[in-house]
Symmetry: C2
Subunit: 133 residues, 2 copies
DNA sequence: TCTTTAGTAGTAATCATTACTACTTACAAA
DNA sequence: TTTGTAAGTAGTAATGATTACTACTAAAGA
């Protein structure tokens, strides 16, 4: 007999399913508000609090990753491997960097890394080219 | 004749002087509230808004650096060279890393880095040793 | 010494996020 | 299949770091 306490999986919820699938199918690191705005049309009863709560649940279950952006909305990522992000200050697009700084820190310093947030702000290649015109 | 518009230096203010010197003399990357709490004893009329305003002014003049900590208080740093930070989740101490990830990003990716924030959360050497006891 | 305007104290507002409350629903057991 | 219960939801209020506002103060050029 499985008691409630022992049940570790989450109960099914359509809202969480929708939110999770939205993150899985997006390539632009959406914020909670992005997700809410995009889904509100098809699911008018969806609440912003539900989006936040489920994103937190998905993060704590390790199904998605949170990207901390201190001066604005946090963003969410389907890529589970910890990695670094580039945020273009012109077009606001966020892209990925595959370099693992974590390994460098673990090796070079006596510091046991649990998680990290590396965000580089600058101008992406596309915006640089447009400036040259 | 120097008009107000042309005057680029800030007017002297005792509050800013005190706040700036506090950051210069600290090694633990204080937050605005840390600074306010530490100085309030000696300067009872000091306002938290003044601390925030002057920290922002000092950052925008390039005299100190802001370290963005998304889930809590931002912290401030006298070290002007951009660098990476380690934050111990046990003792909350913040320390510096001299590695320049900026150069790596600039070289390996077509991305013009303007600023960056790299924060590694984990357990510092001292806390690791205490866990072993 | 004036005059101007940057700076300050104290307080209200902002805004991303979380907490709360009454209602709804998944799902295990009867 | 029905029912009991606790997890999930919608809608709204609260939180908390930071910023804005307003009347007052003071640095410093004329």
């Amino acid at each position: 007999m499985i008691t409630t306490k022992e049940r570790l999986v989450m109960r099914y919820s359509e809202q969480r399913d929708i939110i999770y699938n939205f993150v899985l199918s997006s390539y632009d690191h959406p914020s909670a508000l992005d997700i809410y705005s995009s889904l509100k049309g098809d699911y008018p009863k969806l609440s912003l609090g539900t989006v936040y709560r489920n994103l937190n649940a998905l993060v704590s279950k390790g199904l998605i990753k949170r990207i901390e952006v201190s001066d604005g909305y946090d963003r969410f990522d389907k890529t589970l491997m910890e990695h670094t992000h580039l945020l273009c200050v012109k077009c606001n697009k966020m892209s990925d960097v595959e370099l693992s700084f974590k390994d460098i820190i673990n090796k070079e310093y006596s510091f046991k890394v649990i998680s990290y947030n590396s965000l580089f702000r600058g101008i992406c290649n596309k915006c640089l080219k447009e400036e040259e015109k």
